[in-house]
Subunit: 254 residues, 2 copies
Amino acid sequence: MPKPEVDPTAPLRLSVDRSSPVPLYFQLAQQLEAAIEHGTLTPGSLLGNEIELAGRLGLSRPTVRQAIQSLVDKGLLVRRRGVGTQVVHSQVKRPLELSSLYDDLEAAGQRPASQVLVNTLEPASAEVAAALGVAEGTEVHRVERLRLAHGEPMAYLCNHLPTGLFDLDSAQLEATGLYRLMRAAGITLHSARQSVGARAATADEGERLGEPEGAPLLTMQRTTFDDTGRAVEFGSHTYRASRYSFEFQLLVRP
Amino acid sequence: MPKPEVDPTAPLRLSVDRSSPVPLYFQLAQQLEAAIEHGTLTPGSLLGNEIELAGRLGLSRPTVRQAIQSLVDKGLLVRRRGVGTQVVHSQVKRPLELSSLYDDLEAAGQRPASQVLVNTLEPASAEVAAALGVAEGTEVHRVERLRLAHGEPMAYLCNHLPTGLFDLDSAQLEATGLYRLMRAAGITLHSARQSVGARAATADEGERLGEPEGAPLLTMQRTTFDDTGRAVEFGSHTYRASRYSFEFQLLVRP
DNA sequence: GAAGTCTGATTGTCCGGACAAACTAAGGGC
DNA sequence: GCCCTTAGTTTGTCCGGACAATCAGACTTC
């Protein structure tokens, strides 16, 4: 493998546009991230001290620090007092995100398809009521979907949502993911509590997913909260273990 | 349920110790977090504006902002321009951490026990070599452990580690978790790449874990990196799906 | 040669201030 | 009554500076 054709002594081409509405620290962070992604900043290399960097760009040190800090939070950089700021020897890509299966499949280029099996209202069971923080028996949406990739079933998704949040249109649900609909409705997702496990498929579950009875299934239950702390969705999903696994990156909080 | 006996109009008792070596912003963040945990700061309540807060504590606004920001990053607070900073209506506890099964079990009060089955050196297979970033055939540690809770097997853990990092003592491995040993050896964990799936138990696997052949197993593969980007551990773990599931909290990155 | 010591470099913490942007709510116009 | 404008509040961004804590490497000492 040829060595990267980058002169490490050449100072990075950085510049900021003060007339732009995008914050200066953000512009700098983007450029640094691009340089890391592109290989201009090689793993392990020092970034040059903050004061010099600030002077070169005509920025103040706090602004430069804010840019660097955002990349440290992303896990791309590591700071060492008395040494400098280094690019992490990555293999690390992205921390875990709250993504939907739809997004996952699309990112993998699998051209996902949905099939809405059920889209109705029903009184909340004890489990659903507890997850959504509503009284048992309250009317909630129930959506059952089958997620397909390459025409084969991948997962069976059952979601419960409180009423009055937004319009649950079956056609839209088939065209895109649930999370996109929520974001489009002005709901800002904040956090989620997930539980991932496994169990053997019942005869019904097996038939839906094209697996024999007793086949191992990967299960996920997730309750999603918006930024006001309200539970906006509770999902119970089963995935074909033979076709799907969860992959994610973790960052250790310092 | 009685209403919390807290007067929301009473200003929070906050104070900082300037003679302490612990940073002022960190002291403030800890006190705010404690107040949220304790219920003194109720979910949804405003925090009071930053300038007034700074004045009351004798701090500057940047310091107060740094404290607040750290809690926003943890998902405990939400800022709204023109409105103020609110306590999130939690149910949210902690974001996902890089924890070991040992820690998980201990937190659940299950008094974990380990049994080291194998602790040896062997040449790296292609898979292990790729994960650890070493040449195929390089000598690496191989550790196989059985994790028990209440005397029952919970998981079978197989780890591979590069040589020369630290001392792998079987007795210590049985007394504590692998991650604690690494931290104690001065290795600062940085990130990990995980893959969680499921599959049916083979006859051997079933026997080790006390499950019948074909029983669903939860599998996890994890490669852990330190802050220099070096892979320090590669683990292939299988859990009894009937006894164990992964639970975690996610934060949506804004 | 090995150990401890000093020095320079670099990030960490903290201050005080300034203006911009976004949101809320009250006031005025229709 | 309803909609638009306006003013006030609060966070967001940015500046320039100061000192402390920590690290690496060179130097000194034994």
